[in-house]
């Protein structure tokens, strides 16, 4: 297989298990892929459990109240209780709904959130598959979410859902432009599309991270990526597609129970993914900020940086008001995109001279 050339930590682990020697390599590969998928599914699920609790607590404290306090110590079990409630809820499919697409939509949306985890360089030797087109793969996979959302919105046979889906699709497609341009900045600076190479080219201290090393263009690119990625995953202040006060809950209106929780998981998976991408591209991935701290292993740094960015997401959600549609488009085309071009130009000059 093509992937055999690439370093794959799960394949390596399975190769070392003598019990499985009877399997031909391809089956080992498939087994490794299944295990990887399961692992990351659980990573997302557990992250969502924790992040929802954190989000509620942070929201509470920002608004000067306590947040969930009843279930468990300081409400730690609250999300778990909610999750169990969602799992055992009745699966409602309303009349007039296009059943096939309605069922398929959450699967596609969640799949895209899961599939990007394949190329995240968690640590120096910890990556499922270091594709040589890594970052392009992420961009490609994350575009698949748009048909999924349109599918959900259309199949619900509900005008609020359709509006939400159209808004969401327009927003994601528009903001792909600044996201792509900001990614190009990092790719130019690293000279490679591979995630692991991008991280390795930022080695040697925090001043080599692209956010600082190509000052100020790296910082502009990071800022553009961060803002635009917020819009791409429909987080506040860009959460127009699911603006409760305007169009109920957007494309998720008709969903409930398990299917709704898939959308929800996808949202938290995307938060994690976006934070991880920003960490990889601009914050040096698993690299230590100063060599003094190099005894701390790479995965810890990676997780810490990602979690910090996720915390900023949550922080912003409870700080900023929602934008109007025209402000959203103005932001994308007249602010972020021109500045992204400026920073591409600047980094190009930097790399040339």
């Amino acid at each position: 297989m093509i992937q055999a050339e690439y370093y794959n930590i799960f394949v390596k682990i399975i190769d070392q298990l003598a019990v499985l020697d009877f399997l031909p390599p391809v089956w080992k590969f498939i087994l490794a892929s299944v295990i990887a998928a399961l692992v990351f599914f659980h990573v997302i699920a557990i992250f969502a459990l924790v992040a929802i609790w954190v989000e509620r607590k942070v929201a509470g404290h920002i608004q000067d109240r306590l947040g969930p306090m009843e279930t468990g110590w300081h409400g730690v079990l609250q999300t778990l209780a909610d999750a169990i409630k969602l799992l055992i809820k009745e699966d409602i499919i309303a009349g007039g709904i296009d059943r096939r697409l309605f069922v398929l939509a959450p699967v596609i949306v969640f799949m895209t959130a899961l599939a990007v985890f394949v190329v995240f360089p968690v640590g120096e030797n910890f990556i499922v598959s270091d594709l040589n087109i890594g970052i392009l793969y992420i961009v490609a996979i994350s575009t698949l979410v748009v048909p999924g959302i349109i599918m959900a919105g259309w199949s619900s046979n509900n005008k609020w859902s359709l509006f939400g889906a159209m808004r969401s699709a327009a927003q994601i497609v528009s903001y792909e432009v600044p996201v792509g341009l900001a990614i190009v900045c990092a790719v130019m600076a690293a000279g490679s599309l591979s995630m692991q190479t991008i991280v390795e080219s930022q080695a040697g201290g925090f001043w080599n991270w692209f956010i600082f090393s190509k000052f100020p263009f790296g910082f502009i690119a990071f800022f553009i990526y961060f803002v635009a990625s917020l819009a791409e995953i429909n987080r506040t202040p860009f959460d127009l597609p699911e603006a409760e006060s305007e169009i109920v809950a957007g494309y998720m209106t008709e969903y409930s129970g398990m299917r709704w929780s898939f959308f929800f998981l996808a949202e938290y998976g995307n938060m994690l993914a976006v934070g991880a991408i920003a960490t990889t591209l601009f914050l040096g991935g698993w690299q230590t900020p100063i060599s003094l701290l190099s005894f701390i292993p790479g995965p810890v740094w990676f997780t810490a940086k990602t979690m910090f960015l996720v915390f900023v997401h949550i922080w912003l959600r409870w700080t900023l008001p929602r934008l109007r549609v025209d402000q959203l488009m103005y932001m994308c085309w007249k602010v972020l995109t021109p500045f992204a071009f400026v920073s591409i130009f600047g980094i190009g000059l930097w790399m040339t001279f």
Binding site: M1, I2, E5, P24, P25, V26, W27, F29, I30, D98, L101, L131, N132, I133, L136, Y137, V139, A140, I141, T143, L144, V146, P147, I150, M151, W154, N157, L162, M166, A169, V173, E176, L193
Partner: protein, 168 residues
């Protein structure tokens, strides 16, 4: 290597099967989503041909771009309970005759031609293509590259001109 063949056959069947669904589905929205699957399958086939960069671009451009455009077109022009999209019977019969005839001809051409094929033994060295593509784009293909960018600009302006509101 049988495993690789199995995966290949799965993707080939997905590609061709959903292309067939594009043609035969009654609802235009199903056709659109089948098209998505077919395009995705083509991208997977590109991976088998050592064109992984192109596979990613295929997904970005077709699924993220063209398909979304088509979906928007569908949503903007067709009512949700859309009517039958298949044309008259005679048109279908004559069309099928033409298409089958074309396929038979092409298939005969494929099997009869004596292709000169490079030696593709099992241990082909795969190398990243993105760099080679970039170099080609800025050297041998610089003129087509520029022309393509002008074409895109022209198409952009043309499309905007076509859909702008009539009343000033």
């Amino acid at each position: 290597m049988i495993g690789k063949d199995i995966i290949f056959i799965i993707f080939a069947v997905i590609t061709v099967g959903s292309a067939a669904l594009v043609v035969f589905s009654k609802k235009i929205i199903y056709a659109a989503f089948s098209l998505m699957l077919s395009l995705f399958g083509v991208a997977a086939l590109f991976v088998f041909l050592n064109a992984d960069f192109l596979a990613a671009v295929q997904v970005i451009v077709y699924v993220g771009g063209i398909l979304v455009l088509i979906l928007f077109g569908v949503l903007l022009t067709v009512k949700i309970s859309s009517d039958n999209v298949i044309s008259h019977l005679s048109q279908r019969i004559w069309g099928s005759i033409a298409a089958v005839g074309m396929f038979v001809l092409i298939f005969i051409a494929i099997t009869r031609t004596n292709w000169t094929i490079l030696d593709k033994s099992e241990d082909v060295v795969y190398y990243p293509q993105s760099e080679a593509i970039g170099i080609q784009l800025l050297t041998n293909y610089i003129l087509p590259f520029e022309v393509a960018s002008i074409l895109l600009l022209a198409a952009l302006i043309g499309a905007m001109f076509l859909v702008r509101p009539e009343n000033k």
